[in-house]
């Protein structure tokens, strides 16, 4: 059954692969959050064509499997002259994909700020940009942490699909060990434990940040 003596030999390989998964996660989260924030700002502008851009983008990404988007980025883009490395294709596709979900999270948070505040600020002469940055953003972002943490977990899991386009992260490393050393149980169990551990760590990080940033008893 489970052969513990194999684990020390696998750990350095998996450690390195976990770092690659984390690098991909960090790039994807940075890209996805930025894109999501920008999309939400477009929607908040209230201009009809920009709002339409928001909804069509979100609708498109929520209806499309990430795997297909990844294939378009990695296999499809070279035929229009854009050859991406597996890492760049995965990070780009993940950013584009999760951007829609992050945008929806920011939208939900922005909606928690009472409309009366926005109207009041506009009435006393705040510009729309200042309302966005100084009135809405600080309040909306405080409640966003649990949602952002949950979405980051989904992005972490989607990182596993980068193995399909040969980015040597955790899942691909496990597959390589299986096909080279003909052991099945140990690499797959270790693989699942790696992701599970990373997810639990992300959950804890989210909870800690939420406690750190949420208002304690004060204004709601």
């Amino acid at each position: 059954m489970f052969d513990w003596s194999l684990i020390p030999g696998l750990l350095p390989l998996f450690g390195e692969a976990a770092l690659r998964t984390l690098a991909l996660l960090v790039c994807a989260l940075a890209g996805g959050c930025t894109l999501g924030f920008a999309l939400n700002a477009l929607r908040e502008s209230g201009r009809r064509p920009l709002v339409a851009v928001y909804w069509s983008y979100v609708g498109l990404m929520r209806g499309l499997p990430f795997l297909i988007l990844l294939f378009i980025a990695y296999f499809g883009l070279p035929s229009v002259g854009l050859q991406l490395s597996p890492f760049a294709a995965a990070a780009g596709a993940l950013s584009v994909y999760s951007g829609a979900y992050f945008a929806e999270i920011f939208r939900a948070c922005w909606q928690t700020v009472p409309k009366g505040q926005v109207e009041a600020a506009r009435t006393i002469g705040f510009s729309p940009a200042r309302v966005f940055w100084n009135i809405q953003a600080p309040q909306a972002m405080r409640g966003s942490v649990p949602l952002l943490a949950n979405q980051s977990l989904l992005v972490l899991k989607d990182c596993a699909l980068a193995s399909v386009i040969t980015y040597p992260e955790l899942t691909m490393t496990a597959g390589k060990v299986v096909s080279e050393q003909f052991i099945y149980l140990e690499p797959y169990v270790l693989l699942a434990l790696c992701y599970w551990g990373m997810s639990i760590a992300l959950d804890f990080l989210g909870r800690w940040m939420n406690q750190r940033f949420s208002l304690k008893g004060g204004v709601r």
């Binding site: 209806g63 499997p65 378009i72 099945y184 699942a192 992701y195 599970w196 997810s199």
Partner: protein, 238 residues
């Protein structure tokens, strides 16, 4: 993307992709049903003994595992580990089982949230009227639970359809896999994958449209039921 003969090629892809889409929908529908049934069982287990004891703990670990590991990893484990011990399972069965087990973890949480949304006072009131537990569940909790969780279940169904693209990795001939086979044969990635994308959009769009339609009917029936309920108890306001 080469425009010459594009239309002919697209019409050639269509029947093959439609067949793949059939497998995608078959697996997704069965997975969502397995997931709903198992999710309800999990919630029942988790709420047993007033939410204390080993069963609750086991459900927490189950949900944490399926929520915390990628579907791809779950599929690879379920596909390769049994065959390493000499048990061969058909890929289609593995796909339905794993997607069902995975969805159960999420649907358990959806049902939990739905149940928590029903005011506790209603249940207490029903018991104090002398309603038996079975009637409280079927006539008070279930209709409201169904209405409360329906949008989330439809959204979960859409996610299952999208995530089912991953089963192509374990050799199930779903839409994603036939798409990759077409691509491997003609090496026209952009048009092939874009067609598959449109196909998936149609599938998830259809699930959404059907789900919203049923959801509206659920709301309607719920409204009538509430009125009948009020008349029967003679309450003037709730």
């Amino acid at each position: 993307m080469n425009a010459d003969g594009l239309l002919e090629r697209l019409t050639a892809y269509f029947p093959v992709m439609l067949q793949g889409a059939g497998i995608t929908m078959l697996v997704s529908s069965l997975a969502i049903i397995v997931g709903l049934a198992l999710g309800a069982c999990l919630l029942g287990m988790s709420l047993a003994n007033r939410g204390t004891g080993p069963l609750t703990w086991a459900v927490t670990v189950y949900v944490s595992f399926f929520r915390g590991t990628p579907l791809l990893v779950q599929l690879l484990m379920a596909f390769y580990l049994p065959s390493a011990f000499g048990w061969d399972m058909p890929p289609l069965l593995v796909a339905i089982l794993v997607m069902g087990l995975n969805s159960a973890a999420f649907q358990c949480q959806i049902l939990r949230a739905g149940l928590a949304a029903i005011p506790a006072g209603q249940i207490a009131a029903a018991y104090s009227f002398g309603m038996p537990q079975r009637k409280v569940f079927w006539n008070i909790q279930l209709p409201q639970l169904a209405r409360a969780v329906w949008p989330a279940v439809v959204s979960e169904f859409m996610d299952v359809v999208k995530n089912s693209a991953i089963i192509s990795v374990i050799a199930v001939a779903d839409l994603a896999r036939v798409t990759r086979q077409i691509f491997a044969a003609n090496y026209r990635p952009l048009e092939v994958f874009l067609s598959a994308g449109v196909m998936y959009l149609l599938l998830t769009g259809a699930v959404f449209a059907l789900g919203s339609w049923v959801g509206r009917r659920l709301q309607h029936r719920g409204g009538r039921g509430r009125r009948i309920g009020l008349a029967a108890t003679g309450a003037s306001h709730v």
